[in-house]
């Protein structure tokens, strides 16, 4: 064990950072879109959702990674589902206990973290074949990559759709007197889709290597 890899070696740092940009689960892999449309009307629920997914994915990745040698390949999906479901129930109970209002707003979407493709995807693609520590970093990185998009989308949707940020009115009252109106399209799910599309556009025009050749 003398040539032990340092905890934050370059390789491990990359696990944490690439999902934020070049391998972003939403804008590059286009996973987890449904919840990105559903919980991004306001910034606060989007933020709570981000924290919840980080918790589920990081802990889940570690658990799967610890169990990876004992899981029989034929039943691995069921084992993964049990792990996700237990964690999601835990998260749901914590949210209900401490941030009841937000939990109300998120309603069914906390439970639907179970079906979030990103989580199952990371279990299959990473945790099943890697050690616990890299799996933990990978989980945090991917969930954060998901969350950062959620928060950007929610920021614009709340600002343009409700004129507020984190529930505080930021568009001055004078603007409304001059005839400004909040954009109703941003409250609707298509508004989120358009914002995500614009993020993808910006990302691809800044980094040409992401553009597929056809």
């Amino acid at each position: 064990m003398s040539n032990r890899e340092p905890l934050f070696s370059a390789k491990n740092r990359r696990l944490l950072t690439t999902p934020l940009g070049k391998e972003n689960p939403i804008t590059i892999q286009v996973l987890g879109i449904c919840s990105a449309l559903a919980v991004t009307v306001k910034l606060e629920p989007a933020f709570v959702m981000t924290i919840s997914v980080i918790a589920v994915l990081a802990i889940g990745n570690v658990l799967i990674s610890l169990l990876r040698k004992t899981i029989a390949p034929r039943i691995r999906i069921i084992v993964q589902l049990v792990v996700i479901a237990s964690l999601v129930i835990l998260v749901d109970q914590v949210l209900k206990a401490f941030v009841y209002d937000v939990s109300k707003q998120l309603s069914v979407f906390v439970g639907l973290i179970i079906t979030n493709c990103i989580i199952m995807g990371r279990f299959e693609a990473f945790a099943m074949s890697n050690k616990p520590w890299p799996s933990f970093l990978d989980g945090v990185g991917n969930a954060a990559g998901y969350g950062i998009i959620l928060i950007i989308v929610a920021f614009f949707r709340e600002l343009l759709g409700s004129g507020s940020i984190w529930g505080y009115q930021v568009v001055p009252e004078v603007f409304y007197d001059w005839g400004y109106k909040d954009n109703g399209l941003m409250i609707l799910p298509p508004g989120a889709l358009i914002v995500i599309g614009i993020i993808i556009w910006v990302q691809r025009s800044r980094d040409k290597s992401l553009v597929e050749e056809n």
């Binding site: 400004y180 109106k181 954009n183 109703g184 399209l185 358009i194 614009i198």
Partner: protein, 384 residues
């Protein structure tokens, strides 16, 4: 004309590579080819000798739109004074509407062309001529009371999200003018629907509801068919006069710019379904005033005729194959009537019907082409 040509030829070198204003090349090119038919010939492939290029085609559509625009201006004034209970002369009516409508047209063109020019400079290609028509269509499908900043925002949205992200004119999936309208319709519904917005500076003497709005709330129709045909009803600026729209359609068909197949099939599809509803209404939904409507009313109300003639025929977003055009047109008519009659949320279905079929047009074409290939393959004798 010769003087203008000489002037352009004189300043041209400054805009070419290495010239002082070479970064404005595409802007210069846009104006030059707008004024004069370019003397370029196609380099490769087979080609047809024709002076009608894209800019000339677009100009024909704008010419076909001018009667509806002028009438729309007059009608805005007419509806205003009518709702105030005052009578006004032809000129007073027109002037009132002119002052209301002209800013909308100016804003739509300024914003749209501004964005087109910027994108052309950045991407280094020619300015797309598609906006000549879109810029005129956008004001015509909006209510007269729409705030100007909304026009600007919707135009920007339509040009950037509806067109430029797909690669500019010729590549867009959705009709840009309808994209602008749909944006406003969903973003600011209180300014785009209901009974407050259709008459400019509306007085209290009469309700501002359009015939479509009346029917949706199951009130009897208060306007006569002839008023609807000639266009003396409240509504979006350019959509009210079916008569002038049909004149425009005639012009488009004669010049070969608009497809008669699409226009005819949209009307046929709408009429067919409306007639079916009319026939079965007493048996299945006796209290749905919309369903019991005589089928010809559907064709002269709201945006049906305008959509059929100017929107559905957009050569970029419509089906390209002849058989595809029939399917595309009939489905637009059917969908529009279906949304009007059966959806309790939207009094008008033309916009949504056309946008939906815009999305389906490539699929329709695909199956028409595939079908044709299959049919022809059968004619090849099987080799043993």
């Amino acid at each position: 004309m010769n003087g203008l040509r000489k002037f352009i030829d004189n300043i041209k070198p400054q805009f070419e590579k290495g010239g002082r204003f070479s970064y404005l090349h595409s802007t210069f090119d846009a104006f030059e080819t707008f004024l004069f038919v370019p003397n370029l010939t196609t380099r490769r492939g087979s080609h047809i000798r024709d002076y009608i290029d894209m800019k000339r085609t677009m100009s024909f559509v704008v010419i076909a739109l001018i009667p509806t625009l002028l009438f729309g201006m007059w009608n805005v004034g007419f509806q205003h004074f009518l709702s105030m209970g005052e009578s006004a002369t032809l000129w007073e009516n027109f002037w009132f509407g002119f002052v209301k409508v002209l800013p909308i047209v100016v804003v739509s063109y300024a914003v749209g062309l501004g964005i087109e020019f910027i994108f052309a400079q950045i991407r280094g290609h020619e300015v797309n001529e598609g906006f000549l028509v879109s810029g005129m269509l956008i004001p015509l499908v909006l209510p007269p009371e729409v705030p100007l900043w909304m026009v600007a925002l919707a135009t920007a949205f339509a040009v950037i999200i509806g067109k430029e992200v797909f690669g500019g004119t010729g590549m867009n999936l959705l009709n840009p003018a309808l994209t602008a309208r749909a944006f406003l319709f969903f973003a600011y519904p209180q300014d785009m629907s209901g009974d407050k917005v259709w008459i400019a500076e509306h007085g209290d003497a009469m309700s501002g509801a359009t015939p479509l709005g009346n029917l949706l709330t199951n009130q009897p129709l208060t306007t006569s068919a002839s008023d609807m045909f000639w266009g003396f009803i409240p509504g979006s600026i350019g959509e009210t006069s079916t008569f002038l729209i049909l004149l425009g359609a005639l012009f488009l068909i004669i010049t070969g710019v608009g497809s008669w197949r699409i226009i005819v099939s949209v009307f046929a599809g709408g009429f067919g379904l409306a007639a079916l509803f009319w026939a079965i209404a007493p048996y299945i939904a006796p209290d749905n005033a919309y369903m019991a409507l005589q089928p010809w009313y559907h064709l002269i109300m709201g945006g049906f005729a305008f959509g059929a003639v100017y929107m559905a025929t957009d050569p970029v977003t419509a089906s390209q194959t002849n058989r595809g055009k029939w399917i595309y047109g009939v489905l637009i008519g059917v969908m529009a009537v279906l949304i009007r009659v059966l959806n309790p949320a939207y009094p008008e279905g033309m916009m949504l019907a056309i946008l939906l079929l815009n999305v389906f047009a490539p699929l329709i074409d695909h199956y028409v082409v595939e079908g044709n290939i299959k049919k022809r393959l059968k004619r090849i004798p099987v080799k043993a």
